[in-house]
Symmetry: C2
Subunit: 198 residues, 2 copies
Amino acid sequence: MVDAEVMKKSAVPKSTTQQILDTAQKFVRSRGYSAFSYADISEEVGIRKASIHYHFPTKTELVRHLVRRYRDTMLGTCDRIAQSSSTAPQQLRDFVALYRCGLGEGQLCLCAMLMADLAVLPPEIQAELQRYVQAVEAWLSDLLQRGYALDPTLGDLESKGLLALLHGAQLRVRIQADSPEAFDRLINPWLDRQFPGP
Amino acid sequence: MVDAEVMKKSAVPKSTTQQILDTAQKFVRSRGYSAFSYADISEEVGIRKASIHYHFPTKTELVRHLVRRYRDTMLGTCDRIAQSSSTAPQQLRDFVALYRCGLGEGQLCLCAMLMADLAVLPPEIQAELQRYVQAVEAWLSDLLQRGYALDPTLGDLESKGLLALLHGAQLRVRIQADSPEAFDRLINPWLDRQFPGP
DNA sequence: GTCTATACGAGGATAGAC
DNA sequence: GTCTATCCTCGTATAGAC
């Protein structure tokens, strides 16, 4: 979902490490933690399974890095939204729009997928995931407080609720062919009612 | 989540087939499709891996039956709610309460979990899953139309949105220790605002 | 119905050559 | 950095005895 810039074609060729992370992310976001393998990455990147272990010694390390990178990218994007000259309602819509990205290819938010896989994740990855959720909720809560004059308690609650709705909507639209549009139809009425604007 | 009656202790001993389904359901709801195995069931039921194939020849068949049974149980429970003498707002709250069950043990709604695993599910299971979603949404849409004078289009939309919220909230509360209470804190304010009540 | 035994592939990981 | 070769474990599934 926030890999638009990561995946962008560029003149400078991507390092193997980057390619591995990008490919792994694509697979985790569509299949989940247990159902993707070094063999999948190997095939796409054009490198042998064993070579991947040079860059990431274990699957745990690979996915841990993945979540960390995803969080950094996401928070960077959020900060750019927050520092734009848009109104708060528009910023909220820019944020929500991030959750449309990848839906067409059957990809969920990386961390929504990993939340479903939580029970089988090594503790290191669970910890990284918690930091992600905490950070995004804090950012969103802040936006809602600023934009809609909510007190911190209510801001926290509403941000959790909105994120739950976004994650749930991503799950839902996968089982239909018409993914990104269905997502908007689901989210927009709720958004306009709850947080009018822009 | 709707296995309260299935899991209930009873004087009549459960058939092996039932025990396999119950155990499989527990594992799918916490770990997902790819991360549970015949070995897991074998250990809990006290039967050899190979013996499970007598009851369900393939994993696909096993999970297909699981989803079908889950849907039947769920719709049965929904019908009992609909035929009760409660007001519609109370019926809505009874329905939402179903989604609390299992959270304490780290279990999601079976079909929320399988929606996350959609990309790796055999087509037979995907089809069964679609029927589940369609049926529950139809039931909920009907309740909302009756209880809150919504037209069918809006009822459908709101039912999809509410289910997305419920599924997303289930994902969210797993990453905290305080599961079922956190679920209520997340859901109830939204529910009271959107569908006042009882 | 349940068992033992086994086939066969896939998955994560390591050693050592280049 | 990447390769080949290999190890070991686990997963689904089958055959055939009891």
